[in-house]
Amino acid sequence: MPRKPLYGLMAEFSTPEELVQAAHRTHEEGYRKFDAFSPIPIEELHHAMHLKDSPLPKFVITAGILGCLGMFGFLYWISAIDYPLNVGGRPLYSWPSFIPVTYEITVLSAGLTTVASLLLLCGFPMPYHPVFNVPRFKLASRDKFFLCIEAEDPKFDLQRTKEFLASLRPYEVSEVEI
């Protein structure tokens, strides 16, 4: 029987420190396509895995500025150009009264962009992923820590990668089927 294609190899650890150490070693060893999974955010992983800073803030500030200018311009257009209404002789371009709505729309566009970029960058919604095939992976959302080296990594070699992961002293190493 031919072997099923592999997504990668996964090692399980029981503390965040072991995971950080393992991620560090994996990167040092030359692996680039790997990911760590944890039930809590671990700041040190950022350095251990040499993750890039999230581009999310850039999207948010762009959306915020666009929302702000767009809404202010829109309010100017409806009150001074498209539908000029004389309210007690007040100027049509009464900008201070445009501020509250402009402000709210700035926050709204930035906020919705934050969520949309989060989903986009994480690739959500993604109901299926090969890592879910590892039975013990359920514990990644409880109290266990996992490291998965993907088969697509140029350095990946089933035997050698398995030995390398075993050298990190994990609880167990399992094959992740696609």
Binding site: F37, V107, S117, L139
Partner: protein
Amino acid sequence: MADHLETRNSTTTLAGPEPVLAPGHTYATVTDKIAAVPLEVGWPRFWIVGFTISALIFGMLLMTILWLLGKGIGVWGPNNPVGWGFDIINFVWWIGIGHAGTLISAILLLLRQQWRMSISRFAEAMTLFAVACAFLYPTFHTGRPWLAYWLLPYPNTMAMWPQPRSPLLWDVFAVSTYATISLVFWYVGLIPDLASMRDRAKSRFAQVIYGILALGWRGSAQHWNHYEIASLILAGLSTPLVLSVHTVVSFDFAVGLIPGWHATIFPPYFVAGAIYSGFAMVLTLAIPMRAWYGMQDFITMKHIDNMCKVMLGTGLIVAYGYAMEAFMAWYSGNLWEMFMFKNRTTGPYGWSYWSLIIFNVLIPQVLWLKKARQNIPLVFVLSLVINVGMWLERFVIIVTSLHRDFLPASWGMYYPTKYDWSMYLGSIGLFLTLMYLFVRFLPSISIFEVRTLIPRASKGGAH
């Protein structure tokens, strides 16, 4: 010297005598205990009884609304000159209650207050449900709620636009932005916990539902990398938002010329009042919940104590607001302001002003005593007193200012009708119904945030 440093370090790691998480917990116990409430506890008797009562009261709301739609808003009490009655009182009251949720989840996050973590989730849920209740009132006060979309600027065949110089339009944007951002903030906060629920659910149905809601969260370092910054940004955005919402709500009054409304103190005084009533409502809900579900490990006496202190602080700001209103009435030398204040304190609605002072200013001073803050039944009663007091504040501001304005010829009285009352009680029913459903089906304490409260064993060094 070395000894001295040693002792200091050990006391800081112990985090004081009153911890925000009971000792002895691990990642596993925290997850199991919180996730058990929706997954394993099931349908306890207190839940069934409480939910049934709330749902019945909610039913009364639906019947009131049906009657209101059939007959028109004339079944409510507002008249000339009191054009705003219970509808706006309750709107402001509910919106105010919502503020505590955002304050806890956003402002306290930015201030790195760790104690917020175990109460933020259900305080945020409370925000959402309170805003939902608040939405009822202006929507149905329009008389034709099916045309409520006219409030929004959209190109239409009438070739008209809403009036951006009106605080009422600002309110539409402020409240709908607030509702939207609170909803997404709450949902984003839930994602990692929904994944925990998905992984722990036993029935196929629950696995699928939680699985869909969790969007495929795997706790990957890549996810956390984006997630942490997204939460921080959402907190940063919500912080000025929460301050702006009640400010804009206060503009509904302060921008008008009615004596008793036209005051610069209104925005800060409204925001403080909102937080005051919001924390009172969090305590009203948290105290029974922690007892019923045995959550004393997560919502500790430290939390109760801190929330009492926030109430005491914001309560004093509110008291300052009342004092300033009285002072400005005298200091302005304005005839109408002076009359308004005299009428407010000694007129036909004088009882409401003095009960407000007793409920909101005098009784809560007990919170100065540590003994009082540690006495759970007393804190629960105080939270109810403050809820009533803050409701009275809105009653006083709205009714006493409107009922006697500049011209004695246009004076009048406002009496709420039974439909005003059934709509008000009914909205409490809706709120509690949603709270019961939330506690039953979602983790009401943020599991992943509480996990981060567990000291990391071998982090090395004393920091």
